[in-house]
Amino acid sequence: MRRMTLLVMIAVSACMADQTSYIFQQGVDAYQQHDFEAAVNHFEAALQYGQASAAVYYNLGNAYYKLDQIGKAILNYERAKRLQPRDDDIDFNIKIAQLRVVDKIPSPEADFFFKFWHGMKYLLDLGEFAMLTIGLYILLIAFIVVMLFAKNRVVLRLIRIARLPIFLLLLVVGFIFVVRVHEDINKKHGVILAEKVSVLSSPSADSTEMFALHEGVKIQIIAQSGDFFRIRLTDGKDGWIPLAALEII
């Protein structure tokens, strides 16, 4: 009985993947015929089956860009980037789309240490860090098991040389992986979709406006209170904006 359920589940998910691919292809066709509205509908529909890939988000972003919906374009590019952080096309299109964003928010100049840490942290994507961590972990356990039973001196010596570097590497990679997982769970970013939104000093509609943001700006969400998000910009400014003004990546 249980086996049956599993089979059904696999069959259903395979069927869903087929559905997603089919609708995806329809979206591609519409885009190629410059029917960007239809393309948007198809790509959005493809996501309704609970399956996604970087390509779906990227194409959706492109279709929105062609319809001059820069906020949604950037939102979908950023979603694509989350799944595939080192894709050249995604990065390029984000830059193009950002030209159309009114606000230019400078990133503060980072010091060497921060840059180094940042570089290490985003050297690989989350999945790759997971696999690397698991790989090193299994290797290390394999070393221990072999050391318990092996009698070949050469093998034992090799393991003795390799175990400490592998262990240290596992510590570093594992630490970064844990940090990344923590970030993935806790650090939320959003993109402003409203054409213009006032950033308020407190989470109520009658509080003072500090500055304004425009469609397409990527912000970090640091808290939520009622109908307001507390957001922070890369240059350190923060404030409250209504939930409806943005969408979480």
């Binding site: 399956q51 890939s53 970087a54 799944l83 999945g127 698991i134 356990i141």
Partner: protein, 611 residues
């Protein structure tokens, strides 16, 4: 033709008069008594009289450093008869270069002939600091080609190329004047070919629309002169350079009827009797010796500027906010090749965003000098707050007047940068950063044609079953490995443990053997095996020698281990039964044997649990 007739007449007349020896006279002449420094002077010694033929080249006077000897211009000899007297004249000409300014007297020279001294008159000359109009170093007339008629003779009309200097440094200006000499009436001219000046950078010098006309008498002929073109040329490399010829076409009024070279003809020409012909003339080519700039003392930042300059540097604001543009203006003014002035040496701190400088020139071409100023405007955008210093701007040039390099330095500029607003404001208000500018005008890249790997939208690798199982499974493997290792270690170290572990399997082996003997014919062997299995098992478990294991000893051990008395009884009853069957001459049914076998097995299993 005229002179031949004249000569013949003279010869006839000379026969009439008595011929007598004329005393020797020495005259010295210069072509001009007022010259400028660096200009040439022609000094001529003329010896007249019968004795002149026998006199060699006289000794040259001491010029006392005012004039430097350049070379000999050659000798000419002329024999003529005047009033029946034969006159012999011999002239030597020498070229000198005026080297320093002042008034100077060329001393008289003395020629000794037949023990008699003949002296010339001293000549006073004035050497001035250099004149604007240059001397007559270069002259010449090209053969004229008249379109029609031959009335305009070759010497009537020519162009000279007059250069201010013949030896200059690279990039030092030479003023070239094209001066027309006309003994005929010129009503107009057009320049048909400009001089070729390969290897020079040329700047025109302004000349009046209507050239200034002067009169000059040369060799007894009155010429009208006019400077028709003036250029400043800057040799771009060292070596011998040639200024090519310039071609002119002049409209000349000539008279058809008279073939006279009367001085007055060209000036009192009557338009009614003359007609206009076109005449092409060409200026001679002039060679200039260009010296390379000296290597000694060349400053590091020297970039080829020659002349006399001044440097100034100024900034429009010294108190600014970040991201606010300021302009650094550097001006070099003076005389020289302004247009080709190199950029001064400016070091902009890296905290400034810097744009290519805007260059503006202001050139004056008057008074035979190319002068003016060149301004470099640098737009700078400070990106970070603080006190920023622009190091002193330097500019080096070579001054040909004193043959030395000069370095000019403008004072250091200090700018106070305050923190401005966070918004990024680029110059020109485009609002784009430098990095962004390169994306302007580009379209987004095309979509992906395949969906790639599809995953559930809420998929996270760190919660996926695969990841978690890979994280946990190795731990089980590791635990199992440790347990197994521990077991192997115990086996090898502890014989009692080993025997105890093996007891069960040994007993089972014996029972299996017994089972094979389960037949009435092998009854004794069957019971022997069962007994052996039972006693062997207990011996192994308790690590006792199997031989000589007494039942009462075993019973004690069983009691120590708190074994159920029923089980103990069962065990010993079974052994006793086995012994009985082995030695009693009775027979037992096969079922009975089978029951004993099962019983033995159960006892062993129970004991295994208990021990």
């Amino acid at each position: 033709m005229n002179s031949k007739i004249f000569l013949t007449l003279m010869i006839i007349l000379s026969t009439v008069f008595l011929v007598w020896a004329q005393p020797l006279t020495v005259t010295t002449t210069v072509n001009q008594t007022q010259i400028g420094v660096d200009q040439q002077l022609v000094f001529t010694i003329e010896l007249t009289g019968e004795a002149a033929q026998q006199v060699g080249q006289p000794e040259l006077p001491d010029m006392q450093g005012y004039l430097a000897f350049l070379g000999s211009g050659g000798t000419s000899q002329n024999i003529s008869f005047v009033n029946g007297k034969m006159s012999v004249s011999k002239s030597f000409s020498f070229y000198y270069l005026a080297t320093k300014e002042g008034t100077f007297t060329i001393p008289a020279i003395t020629v000794i002939h037949d023990d008699k001294e003949y002296q010339s008159q001293p000549i006073h000359i004035t050497i001035t600091k250099g004149t604007q109009t240059a001397g007559t170093q270069a002259q010449g007339a090209s053969p004229s080609t008249a379109d029609e008629g031959t009335s305009a003779e070759a010497d009537d009309l020519y162009v000279r190329t007059i250069v201010s200097k013949r030896r200059v440094y690279q990039n030092e200006p030479v003023i070239v004047t094209y001066r027309i000499y006309a003994a005929v009436r010129v009503t107009g001219y057009t320049i048909t070919k400009l001089p070729e000046t390969t290897g020079f950078w040329t700047e025109d010098i302004e000349t009046p629309q209507q050239p200034q006309v002067n009169n000059q008498v040369i060799n007894g002929v009155n010429y009208v002169t006019a400077d028709i073109k003036k250029v400043a040329i800057f040799p771009t490399s060292a070596g011998k350079k040639t200024i090519g010829p310039m071609s002119l076409q002049c409209e000349v009024k000539v008279q058809n009827t008279r073939r006279s070279r009367d001085l007055f003809d060209s000036f009192f020409d009557d338009a009614f009797f003359g007609r206009t012909i076109r005449k092409s003339i060409e200026s001679p080519a002039v060679e200039i010796d260009v010296l390379p700039l000296p290597a000694a003392g060349k400053p590091d930042d020297f970039a080829g500027a020659v002349g006399q300059y001044k440097l100034s540097a100024a900034i429009d604001k010294t108190e600014v906010e970040t991201n606010e543009a300021i302009t650094l203006k550097i001006t070099i003014s003076g005389s020289g090749n302004i247009r080709l002035l190199p950029q001064p040496n400016v070091t902009i701190p890296p905290d400034f965003e810097q744009y290519a400088p805007k260059e503006t020139e202001n050139i004056s071409r008057q008074n035979n000098v190319i002068s003016g100023s060149k301004t470099f405007e640098y737009v700078l955008v400070p990106r970070f707050p603080g006190v920023q210093k622009i190091k002193p701007v330097t500019f080096s040039y070579f001054d040909p007047r004193n043959d030395a390099y000069q370095t000019l330095t403008a004072p250091e500029i200090v700018i106070n940068v305050a923190r401005g607003t966070g918004q990024f404001v680029a110059v020109g208000g485009s609002g784009l950063s430098k990095e962004e500018v390169k994306y302007v005008g580009q379209d987004i890249r095309f979509i992906k044609l395949t969906p790639g790997i599809l995953r559930a939208i809420n998929y996270h690798i760190y919660t996926s079953a695969g990841f978690l199982s890979l994280l946990i499974l190795p731990l089980f493997v590791l635990g199992a490995a440790f347990i197994y290792k521990n077991h192997v270690a115990k086996l090898s170290v502890n014989e009692a443990y080993a025997r105890s572990r093996k007891a069960n399997s040994m007993a089972m082996k014996r029972l299996a053997k017994a089972k094979s003997l389960l037949a009435e014919t092998t009854l004794k062997e069957f019971y022997a095996e069962v007994a052996s299995a039972l006693t062997g098992f207990a011996a192994d478990k308790l690590n006792k020698p199997k031989a000589g294991l007494m039942s009462d000893e075993l019973e004690k051990e069983f009691n120590k281990k708190n074994i159920d008395s029923g089980l103990t009884k069962e065990y010993f009853d079974l052994i006793r039964m086995c012994d009985f069957q082995r030695f009693a001459p009775s027979t037992v049914a096969k079922d009975e044997m089978e029951r004993s076998y099962k019983q033995a097995r159960d006892v062993i299993i129970k004991l295994e649990k208990a021990l």
